[in-house]
């Protein structure tokens, strides 16, 4: 290639800058990340231990009952849930399933706890909306694998960096849908609330959030499924669970075990999705 004027510009040391920032953060805030890592793994261990302590039969019965009510007492979803969970148990994947559920549960909860207030803030403040929207775009378009690197730098390997990267990856839909849901509330509802002398928080909790609930729930549904997909990827940095089995099979080119674990993930995804959607429909009627 011929040398052009473009080649005269020295390469900007972007990767060095990023590396320096991460190094500085890990060195100076190691106490902070350490505390999160320790607290996080302790919480997740407790939750997983609890889930494993519950007898599989009890667990299956509870989930089937949940599916039954979520699907408005139809039989399709509960039967699928029953067969799916029996299959997972039968294939010896019960323990990895509990790890995966723990990771998804924690990542989703954190995403909701962070995402809903941020979404509300964006709906209320044009400035916040203007600043946060491009950050969300950045979070969603950056390839998911890239999050693994700072996660490892901050938290080492294991469940905590897995949850960290899953939260970053899964957060945007909850934020966006909460923002959208509140902005979509009919002007007349807002005027009605205001005209009776509601305070800001009365308006939010008595009118805006209830009316935005269906939209927010759709966002949460997305978040849960994204968390699940990221939890699988996070197995590459040592997060335990079904994803770990998939990665192992991939590395050894074992089609059989890979399919078995992969299919278990599909079952889990379908159950999560349909149960959440079912409850959302029920609430909006």
């Amino acid at each position: 290639m011929n040398s052009t004027i473009l080649d005269q510009i020295p390469r900007l040391p972007v990767s060095e800058w990023m590396a320096n920032i991460i190094t500085w953060l890990t060195q100076n805030l190691s106490w902070f990340f350490g505390a999160i890592r320790d607290g996080g793994s302790w919480t997740m261990d407790v939750l997983t231990d609890f889930l494993l302590w519950v007898h599989p039969i009890v667990f299956i019965v509870l989930l089937v009952a949940l599916a039954f009510f979520a699907s408005q007492k139809k039989l399709g979803l509960p039967i699928f849930t029953l067969l799916g969970l029996l299959y997972i148990y039968n294939q010896g994947l019960w323990e990895p399933l509990m790890y995966t559920i723990t990771l998804v549960l924690i990542a989703s909860l954190l995403s909701i706890i962070i995402g809903v207030p941020v979404g509300i803030w964006m709906a209320k403040s044009a400035t916040a909306n203007w600043i946060i929207t491009p950050i969300l775009d950045f979070m969603q378009t950056m390839p998911a694998f890239v999050y693994l690197i700072p996660a490892v730098a901050f938290f080492g390997i294991g469940m905590v960096p897995g949850v960290f990267s899953a939260v970053i990856f899964a957060l945007p839909p909850t934020v966006r849908f909460t923002n959208l849901g509140i902005r979509q509330v009919d002007d007349e509802m807002i005027e009605a609330a205001e005209s009776f002398g509601s305070t800001g928080s009365q308006r939010l909790f008595k009118v805006e959030l209830p009316l935005a609930k269906a939209t927010i729930m759709a966002g949460i549904n997305q978040t849960v499924l994204l968390a699940l997909s990221m939890v699988v990827i996070a197995s590459m940095i040592g997060a335990p669970g079904l994803g770990e089995r998939v990665i192992n099979a991939l590395q050894r080119a074992q089609v059989g075990p890979g399919f078995v674990a992969g299919f278990a993930l599909v079952v889990l995804a379908i159950i999560l999705d349909r149960v959440l959607q079912g409850f959302n429909k029920d609430k909006t009627k």
Partner: protein, 402 residues
């Protein structure tokens, strides 16, 4: 009568160059002019009027006339750009959030075009809302809300959701909700416009009936002239953000302030609204005993009338004389009109509707006399006037207004 609500020079400008536009508004430029110069839209342009305690004050205008913006400034759902809004003498425009909230909670309630009911709450919970945000405890607010629903005949529906009710019932709930915290002022924004015509008429009747016992001060927005005439004690007409005329329905119909108002009112069925009082004119009369046939003849010639009404010294109508009869009397050299007075003249009161006048005047050779209870003459209606009012000719100069 005391003034309950008064607005002074209330102005709202939408858009970026608010200041610049406001200057132009003060200089008296038109809405279109200001839009062209600054890109700012004048929502309401120096509106001023007073609303009396206990009256139904209708603000009428076509869409885009600024009526909805105006009513929203009264409780500051829209912030005014300039001007004062006095409720019981306190300026709403200058209040802080806390004071404003108290006014909204205690003094002013609003009813919305699309009812503004919360779909996630039951009818009872909707009705309670105003009391709930005030922090009234549950038992008390339920009791008040149930009473308000009971007055509207909706108590059996209290546990249903708004979407289970018909439009008319939903708006009754909207009204019950607005009344539940016993406000002094009701703002009704196109409250009945989304309802079909028969239901709308029922709702208007219910509102009037309610008003007879409650005597609220009601500010009612509508684009429908018939609705304004039906329920409004007084009507303000808005155009391009300006209040172009304020008056009773009668005043606006008989004496439109400008061409716009005239065009606005032209599709009303005039014959139903106008009465003899609105179209009668000052009669040419002659006094019995005081004047004789020669004077009568002279005056008839001068005014080019073929007949003339005859009254006594107290202005009591005695009848009329025709030019032919008076001419005969002059020939016979009579000194008095008594012998030639005819009495077969139709008499009506000032409240007679114009379509009744139309049939009367059609069958009569003489004008119709308008008299009061004592037979005292107050005006006459001639054929041309009745037709003129019906076809809306220029008539203003001839009219006798109160």
């Amino acid at each position: 009568m005391t003034t309950k609500v008064e607005i002074q020079n209330l102005t709202k400008i939408f858009g970026k160059k608010e200041r610049q536009a406001l200057e132009l508004v003060k200089e008296g430029h038109s809405k279109d002019d200001i839009l062209a110069k600054t890109g700012a839209t004048v929502g309401v342009n120096k509106a001023s009027f007073k609303v009396e305690q206990g009256e139904i004050f209708v603000i009428m205008g076509l869409s885009g006339s600024g009526k909805s913006t105006l009513v929203r400034m009264l409780n500051r759902l829209i912030e005014p750009t300039e001007g004062n809004i006095l409720i019981d003498g306190d300026d709403i425009a200058k209040m802080n959030k806390e004071q404003l909230r108290n006014v909204r909670r205690e003094k002013v309630s609003m009813v919305f075009q699309n009812f503004g009911l919360f779909p996630h709450r039951t009818i009872l919970e909707n009705t309670e809302y105003g009391l709930e945000v005030q922090g009234v405890d549950k038992a008390e607010r339920q009791e008040k809300a149930e009473k308000a629903l009971d007055n509207a005949g909706l108590l059996p529906y209290k546990d249903q959701r708004p979407n289970q009710l018909s439009g008319g019932m939903q708006q009754r709930v909207g009204l019950a909700r607005a009344l539940a915290n016993d406000p002094e002022i009701l703002l009704m924004d196109e409250a009945f416009s989304a309802l079909d015509p028969l239901i709308r008429r029922d709702m208007q009747d219910e509102l009037l009936e309610m008003q007879e016992t409650l005597h609220k001060t009601i500010i009612f927005i509508t684009h429908d002239l018939n609705e304004s005439l039906r329920i409004g004690d007084r009507i303000a007409i808005m155009k391009d953000g300006e209040v172009v005329q304020v008056g009773t329905g009668e005043e606006i119909l008989t004496n439109p302030a400008n061409e716009y108002v005239e065009r606005f009112v032209e599709d009303v069925d005039r014959s139903k609204v106008l009465t003899a009082e609105n179209i009668m004119v000052r009669p040419e009369t002659i006094r019995l005993r005081q004047s004789g046939p020669r004077v009568a003849l002279q005056r008839m010639k001068a005014s080019d009338h073929s007949n003339m009404l005859v009254v006594d010294k107290n202005n009591i109508l005695k009848g009329y004389v025709t030019d032919a009869d008076v001419m005969d009397a002059v020939k016979q050299d009579k000194k008095d009109l008594v012998d030639v007075v005819r009495t077969d003249i139709p008499r009506v009161t000032k409240d007679t509707l114009i379509n009744e006048l139309y049939t009367l005047i059609h069958d009569s050779q003489t004008p119709v006399a308008v008299v009061d209870e004592d037979d005292k003459l107050i005006g006459i209606v001639v054929r041309g006037l009745v037709l003129g009012a019906l076809v809306k000719e220029e008539r203003e100069e001839e009219l006798i207004n109160e």
